[in-house]
Every structure is written in structure tokens, then in C-alpha cells.
Symmetry: D2
Subunit: 213 residues, 4 copies
Amino acid sequence: MKVLITGFEPFGGEGVNPSWSAARLVAEARPCGFDTTAVRLSCVYGKAIAELRAAVADTGPDLVLCAGQAGGRTGLSVERVAVNVDDARIPDNAGNQPVDEPIVPGGPVAYLSSLPVKACVAAVREAGLPASVSGTAGNFLCNHVFYGLAHLIATERPGLRGGFVHVPYAPEQVVGKAEPSMSVQDIARGLAVIVETAARTTTDLGVPEGATH
Amino acid sequence: MKVLITGFEPFGGEGVNPSWSAARLVAEARPCGFDTTAVRLSCVYGKAIAELRAAVADTGPDLVLCAGQAGGRTGLSVERVAVNVDDARIPDNAGNQPVDEPIVPGGPVAYLSSLPVKACVAAVREAGLPASVSGTAGNFLCNHVFYGLAHLIATERPGLRGGFVHVPYAPEQVVGKAEPSMSVQDIARGLAVIVETAARTTTDLGVPEGATH
Amino acid sequence: MKVLITGFEPFGGEGVNPSWSAARLVAEARPCGFDTTAVRLSCVYGKAIAELRAAVADTGPDLVLCAGQAGGRTGLSVERVAVNVDDARIPDNAGNQPVDEPIVPGGPVAYLSSLPVKACVAAVREAGLPASVSGTAGNFLCNHVFYGLAHLIATERPGLRGGFVHVPYAPEQVVGKAEPSMSVQDIARGLAVIVETAARTTTDLGVPEGATH
Amino acid sequence: MKVLITGFEPFGGEGVNPSWSAARLVAEARPCGFDTTAVRLSCVYGKAIAELRAAVADTGPDLVLCAGQAGGRTGLSVERVAVNVDDARIPDNAGNQPVDEPIVPGGPVAYLSSLPVKACVAAVREAGLPASVSGTAGNFLCNHVFYGLAHLIATERPGLRGGFVHVPYAPEQVVGKAEPSMSVQDIARGLAVIVETAARTTTDLGVPEGATH
């Protein structure tokens, strides 16, 4: 099996992005011995999806796991749904700040993840790390790439499966702040567990993980 | 203009539901002098949508605002998107606990709100109360009713506009907890501002309110 | 019985300070019909205590309740202990920023409140508002005034009783932030309940309200 | 130099206590090559201080660092002040639940830490981990032991220096919860940095780290 894992370059004034630091470690660790490639995506609307599509074309993966930083979250958040809206609270790294623009004009309002999100969450917890299903990937680059991936799968790559995971800040990003964090080693360990679980699981677990609001 | 506003009965062991306490106050206050009806929905999957549909049929509204309790939120959350998934963390008031079931089999994955969500948020803030656009209404009864309303509008009532607002706990619900709350009077004031704003606004504001994650 | 209640002027770039907005309402409401005076203290090290001492000398109270803003807290926090340390994270309104300086050189490290803190918390909850005992009043003006009051009582006014209550942001201060708030009317109602409870209670309740950390 | 580091046994239904897991790692790592002993304290009022006193008598340390679990905190919290009050929100591991009892009858209301708390915080941050000065150690076993240590130093061991550090949950404790955590390896690394800093620093840094409330 071939696996593509992506992380993002830093944004918002941060010096690092733990999604990329961890993605590189996952590729080095080669979960289950899979041929795993890590690619760093730009934090730029449009360009990020183009880079993702190029990486898929280049590496021909069976499974794609995209990761992004979600400052303030306490564990790995396996995203359930990608929404067809860009709405940038802050400018991206090229200065773009789209507001309420569709990612794919005419595309469906949303896609559900093609990963077994609950099996992934259960496996990360089993490994001793906090995880949850998330109901929103936001409206910045993470949701943008997630939607781009889901649209690619739905329209051009029916055999491909893929999804998105948000990861907490690395400890070094919050040294003087009261914000939760997770070590990059633990983030990478959790992402590897998700790759392994998604690779072997096609039917998701029937356990409740929804939010009451 | 005719307005229908809904709240929910209490759930999860609570003695009150601030969405209903406030909805009643809004109907009594008659924002802009509109003919405003308040209806309390059951916290029961399926039944809640049936009650909503009956209330729409009975009152023939031009605008529907559904409200629900979102314990832990700090202000009014105007929901952007309804997702076609029931995934009940806790049983509803009839003991149902659907997991990953579609609300409308074959329906689209999601609908965007037909309310001007950013204009509504801006108006509530202008009135001195905290508000934000939310990217997920969860997977419990609130999202269920929101999706049911959006599907009704999309498939049967093209002239109707409507959306969903999550409200914080009332103070009495958190007396011994470290959870945020908002007085029912302020919740009602904010909901009335949303009704007034939605009634007079058809083009939303082009300001960023997206989440970075 | 004569009551003195104090609040602070705004600080930290805020346009209002809910402790003063509420203190004024309490004085107008005259809890239990008590002769109640509200005084606004400067947010300036040294000067604030001088103003408090002058107000005590002028009004000759039996009970003093000082209030201050604690942005981020969810309910009324009845402070248990005042510590003899100024350590200003931000400059006060006169530009002073003392670091690790004693409030009263040679004074004890700390004083416990002379109010029945648990009876006060129980009474506020009974009134339907969130409240808790707090184990730290910080190191800014609130703790400064609290310590100054406790030292005055301990060294010069043995018959006087008094304490400190932290209050949440007012809603208007958090319109665009994810921070908890409480309406000024509810803050005032809670402070009045504390005045009434402190006035009639000399032996505190023996219920646990400590923090595990 | 001889160092004594303590952690606690699990409490509150937890299977582990990260303060002890980390303390053991610190003793194995021998910061600066110091002769370092780790001792696990019982989560029992009275007994915990007795165990601490026995360990001090046995090992004759120059420096004592006590650590405890503070579920919900995001980084290492170097405690500034120990207060002479036991007030147990939950029973200890022997079923005791003292309410508003002095730890040392007739003892001072509080002691300040004899560690250079700000130098310790700065050093942990320099090592890439989140840390802060805390103004309250609560009223459970952590504050109890901290006060017992400070009283021992003040009354019997004038040459000894010591203090208390609260640590976050370990990741395994929060797998299904939205609570912050820190890896035990990182906790141990931070505690070792504190030992090294406290050993070489007698005059604290004059930087503001106080809380505004």
C-alpha cells in the first residue's frame, strides 16, 4: 500500500507547524512498512490544493492523510466533514483573504470523510493519546485542502481514500501561553496509528462520537 | 411578516432549556411588531422535525428561527451549516440514540443557512452581546432540526428563509460549575435582534467570520 | 448596619469595569435597607488603598465588600486569601508596574478573608447565579486592595469585617471574543446577596469548596 | 548537592499520577549529576507530610522539589504560595475530607516558595515547554505538602530550599476527554530543568509573572 501524508508550512506568525513536523516523522517511521511519502503544503488558498493534486499524481497513493494545526485543541481531531466555503479569518501566507467563496464553484456543500473516523479515534485512544471526532475543520486552509481532497476522490479518484486530522500546538509554541499542546513525537505516533487503522479498516465502528452541539 | 421561533424542551437531566425560555420571551416581545409564534420542540429524533413541519404548516411563516442550548458556549452562535448525520452522544428524551444515520436518506450531505449569518452576528454584537458564526451545530437534536428546516425550505418552501442559533446555558444551570452562561433576558434580546436583522437583510455582510480550524 | 462597597475604574484598555457598574447598582438597591455607599477606586497601586482607607474613615462601615473584574471567570469568585505581593503583569493606570514587592513591608505573607466565604457562595447559588470560592486574587490591584483592607482590619479596625469578590466580564466587553460574561444586573444581584449574607452570618458553613489544585 | 524529588500516588480514580511517573524519571536522569532521590507520597492528609519529613531526615537534601498533578492545567505551574488551609473537595485516599482546617494550628496563614519561581519558569520555557507561576496550589494534598515543606524549612531546616510544581495530566489520562495534557517525558524534562535552575539560582529574576486576577 502507498500512503501520502501531508502537513502545512507555518502560518499566523508561528515558527513551526506541528502538522509538518509530525508528518515527516510518520513518513520516516513507515507505518506497517507502507511506502509513505510526506509532502509539505503551502498555506495559500488554491496553491495548497494544486500541490496536493500534484503529490497524488506523482505518488499514486491508496491512502491520503492530510494534517493541519488546530491551536487550542487538546488531542487529535479526526475531521468528519469538509465544507465548500473559504472564509479566512486571517490572510494566508500569500496575503489572500477570501470571504464566503466556494472552494469548488458548483461543488456540493460538503463531503463526509472517506476514512473510518471512529475506528481511527478509537485506535488513537487505545494507543494512550487523546482523540475525538470533529464536526468542523474551520474555513481556512485545513478545510480547504480537506474539501479539495474529497472532491478529487469523488470526481477523479474513486479508488482513493483520504481524510483530514487536526493536531494540537507543539509545546514550544505555547511556552508562555495557557494553551494545550502535544509533543510532536506523540502527534506523529497518533498519525501513524490513524494511517494503520485507515489502511486495514473499511467499515467504521458504530459507536457514538457526535457532539451534542 | 410572520415569524416562527422555536426552542427545545430540557434534555440531559437539565430542568430548563434556555432556548425555549428565551423563544417565549421573543414571541411576547414581537420584534418589529411581527406576528411571532413560539413553539417548543421535543428533544426526540424525528418527532422534533415533524413538530417543526406542523408548526410551519400551521403558521405559514416568512422566517423561521430555531434555537437550541449549547452548553459551554459563551455567546449566541449563528450556525452556518447543517449536516445530514445523526450521531447521538446521549439518548434523546425518548431513549433513541441513532449513530451515523442520515436525517434524510438520499439528502445532500449539508445545507448552508439561508439566514444572513454575518449580518446577524454583527447586529447582536452591536447590541452589546457576544455572538459568532459557528461551523458546526453538532449531531444531536439541534443539527437534526436545522437540517430538517433547511431540507423543507430546499424541497418544499422556496420562499421561506430560516436558520439555527445556539445559545449558552442560563445562569441557573451552572451555579456550581465553571461553565459560561448568559441571562435568559439577554438571550431573548439577542434572538430578537437576529429576527429583526434576518427580516430586513437578504444580502449578507462580506466580512470574515470563519474559524482557522 | 453601614455597608461600603467598592469597584474599580476600567483598566487594560477596557471602556468599562463591571465591578463599578455593579457596585453602583448595589448601593442604589440598598440590600436589607442598609446604609450603603459605593466608591470607585483607582486602578493605581498605593492610591487604591489610600482611597479605600479614606472611604472607610469617611463612612464608618460595619462591612466592606470590594469587587474587581476577573476577565475569563464564569461566576462570582469569593476570594479566600490575600497575599502580600504586588506583581503587575501589565502597568496600572498610572504606569506603575511593581514586581514582587510587598504591599505592606513586614506584613504577614497572607490574610484570610473575614467574610463567611462559603455561606456567601451558597447564597449566590441559591439565588440562581454561578459562584465559587477562589484561592487566589492574583497579584494586581484586586489582591492589592484586598490585602490592604485585610491589613486595615487586622491592625486598626478589629470590629470591621470585609472581603473581596471577583466578577466576570460584562457582555459588552466580550462581543467578539470567546470569553464568558455575566450581565451587570446579575452581578449586582449576586453582590447584594453577598452583602446580605455577610451581614447576617458570622459562622461560616462547613462545606467543602476547596480546589484540588 | 543532594536533591529530593517527590510525586504522589494516584487519586480521584486515576490509574496513574504523572507527578510520580515523572519524578522517578528525574531521579534516574540525575540532573547536573546531583545525588537525586525520588519518593512517592501518599495522597492522605497528615501521612503525606510525615512521609516527606521522613524522606528529608533520611536523605538530608539541599533542595526539595515536590510535584503533584493538576488536571486541567496546560503546563508546569511553579507554585508561589502555600496556604495554611485544608479544604478537601473530594476525600483523600484514606477517606479523610477535612474542611477549613489548618495544616499547622497556629502556623502562619501562608509561606512563599523558597525557590526562584520566575527563574524556574523562564528556564522551562527556554527548554521549549510551557510553564507559568501559579498563585494557588489549591487546598488538597498538593498545597498540604507544600505548606508542610515550607513550615519544615522555616522552623527546622533553615538551610534547606524547596518548593512545589503542579504538572498537567499525562496523555493517557485524557484519551476521551477535552483536557490538556503533557507527555511524562516532557514533564520529567521540565522538572529536571527546575531542579538545575533552583540549584544554581539564589536570586530570582525580576520579571513580571503575576496574574491580573
